[in-house]
Amino acid sequence: MARAREAVSPSVVIAAAGLVVVVAVPFLFILLQAVFPHLGRGSLAAPFSALAGALGDPKLIGMTGNTLLLGLLVVVLSALIAVPLAVARALFRVPGAVIWDVLFLIPFMIPPYIAVLGWIMTLQPRGYLEQLAGFDLAAFLFSVPGIVFVMTLNTFPVVYFAVSRTVETVGSRYADVARVFGASPLRAFWRVTLPLSTPGLAASLLLVFAMSIEEYGTPAALGRRAGFDVLVTAIDLRVSDWPIDLPGAAILSLVLVILSFGAFLLQRWILTRRSYEATTGKPQDAAKRDLGVWKFPVLALFAAVAVAATGLPLLAILATALSRTISGGLTLANLDLSNFSAILGDTTGALKALGTSLSLGVAAALVTGLLGALSAYAVVKSKVRGRGVLDVLTILPNALPGIVVAVGLILAWNQPWLPVTPYNTALILLLAYCCILLPQPVRYATAAFHQIGDNLEAAARVFGASPLVAFRRILLPLIAPSLLAAMLLVFAVATRELVASVVVAPVGVSTISTYIWRQFEQGSVGLGMAMAFITILITTALPLIVLSLMGRRGNLL
């Protein structure tokens, strides 16, 4: 009897319903669009007629290869940068740990299209670097290594935060046992701590892979000059070049989904090979070790990454925002606050856009946090049949380019027979952000659940707690650190999401990103950069304030 009730635990039902609305509906319409080319006009004529054209594109194989290569290179470089930093942060007393956390959070707050423009304006001939130091690095920037470099600086925080949290949870206790049995410190780390941290590492690398094959801004700005075409740029061209080819875009997106799905299967295979339970309810010694002679080398590494990922892009953004004209360059006479006063004076609708995006960011973080925790629970801890399907639904949006999600949402929610619809209200933006960003909380929460022993929930149930109470009182607090980190990322990305917002924004509504983008389109780069700078400040400060109000000082994220 009890087992039967477990099968329909309310948390699982909520997770399933939420996933259907947020992910399955738009995805279904993308699939339908791929099959029925005239879906937008409400016709199901000529099914599969667009397939041959899109898949027969002679450039397809090259672009798919480039996409895979880009994803793998960004994953490898992100891991190389983030894992040593994360391990140091988790196991040792790194001086200024909280400050480093904040500095590594900021790259995530910098919209990729802004970061890449900042890099271009710094490294191109007569850019900021040449104005200050006399040389330029354009040849490096507009190349495949340049693209990988810029994208890695944007994505490595995902790995850093996930791995440092999981390694911290694993703690040094298991490694200590290995040491007692005679293993060297290095061996104990390689054979015990690192393997036990696999869930966090695998989950975050999967996210990075999916993010980098789906990312549009950087390959579009840098790749075309390097002759490096990827699937996303081809998809965008199909959606923006008249005559619009929605079926072609949908079909190419499905190729992306297949790539991402392959990575997902690989990650799942790694995670299900063995158990990674490290949180068993036993008290844990949280004390961290001293770095000793390694203190300064480690600090230098932290500083170097912080300068490259946070310092330089922020300075480039600030320099542009403070410049009256771009052609005036970095001279004292050319610097003033006119761009900032235009925004704060709100002659351009900037404050309204800020308000819209910030509330959408908070709402998206709450919805995806809740839905992510419930879905991850349903997948990892429940024994519900069909939970594999739920798991697949949570990974699908990861590989869908924002623009395709936007088209799917319009097709789904603009049907004439719907009595009420979120379309043409700000809710459609919320749906878009939730769909695109849901994978983050799900991956983080899944990794956290993998580390929690089943006996904890069982103990709560034995003492009479209902499934919901056990979830709320036992499991949720245990995964809260990981989940909160993911929700902060959702907040940051949702506040500045561009690609879907540009297409799906309701009439008369502008978001931070569409505001910035319009300034760029009109040639007001400085005004756009000033808005970007203010946004980065707010999206960094707000989560920090929330966390310190919640009394989590000293243990950020």
Partner: protein, 316 residues
């Protein structure tokens, strides 16, 4: 915690849905944003009719219309490419309307179903601080002084850039071959091609949309707009009323307003050329420019071939 999260989520959602009722006239436009903002405000002030607008690039506006086609909401469309007006008319999506204010709009800027709001022209945008001699002709940019210093907007992403490429390649791709040999590169859409010139990484844009550069110059940027004597192409920006519109009377009033003295003054204020021949602006007008003939039907019929040949020239 779960309850608080739920409650907060519901509140946020409720807040978001408020205040997004559809307006009397819904305009989709290819920008610039400041233009439609001022036109909407002026129109509402004059008629009391509310305007809501959606602004993006021509491509993104079209993608939205295509995805919405089963249940469209747009009443008035302003595109940056005349091609849209031709194509939509062929599909039978447009309402025939001739505004009384369109009397002084030259014939080549209006049809039964569309009329230009304003006109942009393509030009050389050159940075005088670049240390290069001032170019006068398209072909000048293939000279050694401009080696590696020229950007071209991508004709696959910009309708006007495509027409310029077509007009200048009527006798073959020779000019573009010498540009490519001189290190000129294709650099994204219009704004993307201009920024490196402002900072000085490049000296000139071959085929810049003039009004963006003129606005930059007005703000103090070091940029000059040069219209070659051999001729250039223009990009009229058509205004159209969609036949599914349920507010066609208000939509017609909006078109009237765009072509009114006040509306055309706003157009001139953004450095575009007004569509009406009797409205002046503080910039070179159509009559001052030599316009290269573009046979739209023939040119767009060969679009794929032209783009293919063009990208072959610039492929490394």
């Amino acid at each position: 915690m779960l309850k608080t999260m739920l409650r907060a989520g519901v509140t946020a959602a409720a807040l978001l849905t408020a205040g997004s009722a559809l307006a009397d006239v819904t305009v989709y436009t290819a920008g610039p944003a400041s233009l439609i903002e001022k036109l909407a405000a002026g129109f509402t002030e004059e008629t009391g009719v509310k305007v809501e607008f959606f602004q993006a690039t021509t491509g993104k506006v079209m993608a939205r219309i295509e995805a919405e086609a089963s249940n469209p909401v747009v009443d008035v469309l302003i595109s940056a490419s005349w091609d849209t007006a031709t194509d939509f008319a062929e599909r039978g999506w447009l309402v025939p309307y001739t505004s009384p204010n369109a009397a002084t709009v030259p014939d080549f800027l209006k049809t039964e179903t569309a009329v230009a709001q304003g006109v942009a022209a393509l030009a050389i945008a050159w940075n005088p601080a670049s240390g290069t001699p001032k170019p006068a002709e398209w072909a000048d940019l293939a000279k050694p002084e401009y080696k590696d210093l020229v950007n071209l907007p991508d004709p696959a992403q910009s309708g006007s850039a495509f027409e310029l490429v077509s007009a200048l390649s009527a006798d073959g791709m020779g000019l573009f071959e010498s540009l490519a040999a001189n290190g000129a590169i294709v650099a994204g859409a219009n704004a993307e091609a201009l920024n490196p010139v402002l900072q000085g990484a490049k000296a000139a844009v071959f085929g810049a949309v003039d009004y963006i550069s003129l606005n930059g110059k007005a703000k103090g940027e070091s940029i000059e707009v040069i219209f070659p004597e051999t001729g250039t192409v223009i990009a009229p920006r058509p205004v159209m009323i969609l036949n599914w519109s349920k507010n066609q009377d208000d939509a017609k009033k909006f078109v009237d307003y765009v072509l009114s003295d006040a509306g055309q003054a706003i157009v001139a204020g953004t450095s575009l050329m007004p569509a009406r021949a009797d409205v002046t602006a503080d910039r070179p007008l159509i009559a001052d420019l030599k316009i290269l003939p573009v046979d739209a039907e023939a040119v767009y019929g060969k679009r794929a071939e032209t783009l293919e040949a063009f990208s072959k020239v610039f492929a490394k």
